[in-house]
Symmetry: C2
Subunit: 234 residues, 2 copies
């Protein structure tokens, strides 16, 4: 890994980038481009957790706390960037972890399952026996004891079609997406517009703290994120 100088103002962002570049056996090339899109939006946010993101993190914690079968769906980018943070969230919330890939190959699923194993999490995904309706073959595959039977699914860095398909299955969907305008961000029930490794520990803490939120309007929250970005631009 090419390390940036420690005092670099964008040190964390550069480390995340190098992590992904190093992990290209399990990260799809399209995943690198997607990461770049996220970097740009994070740049506009000032690489900080904005106030509307804090509110959506609390709402997400509240929803995960009352879920009966919560599942964290992870892909190559999520595991490469935040395997440990996902493990902590899984431990705090009791949520299962399932490897679920847009560009699925059994090698990539095996590699990612192994990476989760190394941080103490036995992730589902190797033996998909269920389907998400409305998606084309490989993209539809999931596990009946994971996403198939989940009531609440956290899908960080998810594709718009798959987010939509999960919503149509009647699941409560929480996403983490730096682009407040993306279809995923607009479709999920709760959208956390924040960088993954920054917001996962906050979500874990909020669950541990027993945070309870009664009222949350995702559309309104997303508008507040756009207003935050605009205020920074001008």
């Amino acid at each position: 890994m090419t390390l940036p100088p420690e005092g670099h103002p964008r040190y964390k962002s550069l480390i995340a980038r190098e992590k992904l570049v190093e992990a290209t056996d399990v990260v799809a090339k399209q995943g690198l481009i997607a990461h770049g899109r996220g970097e740009a939006f994070d740049y506009l946010l000032g690489e900080q957790t904005c106030p509307p993101a804090i509110r959506s993190i609390k709402a997400a914690a509240s929803l995960i706390r009352v879920a009966s079968s919560p599942v964290i769906s992870v892909n190559g980018n999520v595991v490469a960037l935040a395997a440990k943070e996902v493990a902590h969230l899984s431990e705090a919330s009791g949520a299962k972890v399932e490897v679920n890939l847009f560009h699925r190959t059994s090698e990539r699923v095996a590699g990612l399952t192994k990476m989760m194993d190394e941080v103490g999490i036995q992730a589902l995904g190797m033996n998909p026996d269920d389907k998400i309706p409305g998606l084309s073959s490989e993209r539809a595959r999931c596990c009946s004891e994971g996403i198939g039977s989940a009531d609440v699914v956290l899908v960080p860095l998810e594709d718009g079609d798959r987010c939509q398909a999960l919503v149509e299955m009647g699941k409560q969907v929480i996403t983490i997406d730096l682009n407040p305008l993306s279809r995923t961000a607009q479709t999920a029930h709760i959208t956390i517009v924040d960088e993954l490794t920054r917001c996962l520990p906050l979500l874990t803490d909020a669950i541990r703290d027993g945070v309870k939120v009664d009222d949350f309007d995702n559309k309104k929250n997303l508008k507040e994120v756009l207003a935050f970005i605009c205020a920074r631009l001008s």
Copy 2:
């Protein structure tokens, strides 16, 4: 290449992404991430050439027209995305083309030179005999008959350090960068905030049309781009 459906609202953007994913023998992995950042900003611009970009294209055409030794500096992303458009610009302007890489290997320079050759351009870059002061060894290398002796350099999709180094050499620097806030965008004399394959033909046409601009303020122009983005966000 995985082709998106032709009616897809973001067809051009998806084709560009696939072009880069396919070309990873000459495109650096970091180049994929950089492309993603560009995609995000282009998304915010509405994937169109905004009015301030039109003005900077005209200013760039005017500057290239009066240059005595203009050079177009190209990297992996530029060639993979826009080899033909660069060739047309070179023909219209008389500017030489030099392959100049941040992540330089002789294999990548050779591959990119060959790709330019296939569109009829004999690009410099294989035998660097000069240096850009202030950059670390491999990144400094350039050709004396190209960038070394150029008075005007067009550096699309360039790194901030290298853009700064060219400015410090006393060259007039034009960049094409979708991020109006990037160091490259802020450092160049003329910044075209537009997608590469969209603006290069406009630049070529403006040169052919003999466009002349007497007055251009890059900082002001960049502020107008930010205002354009903000107006779209809200």
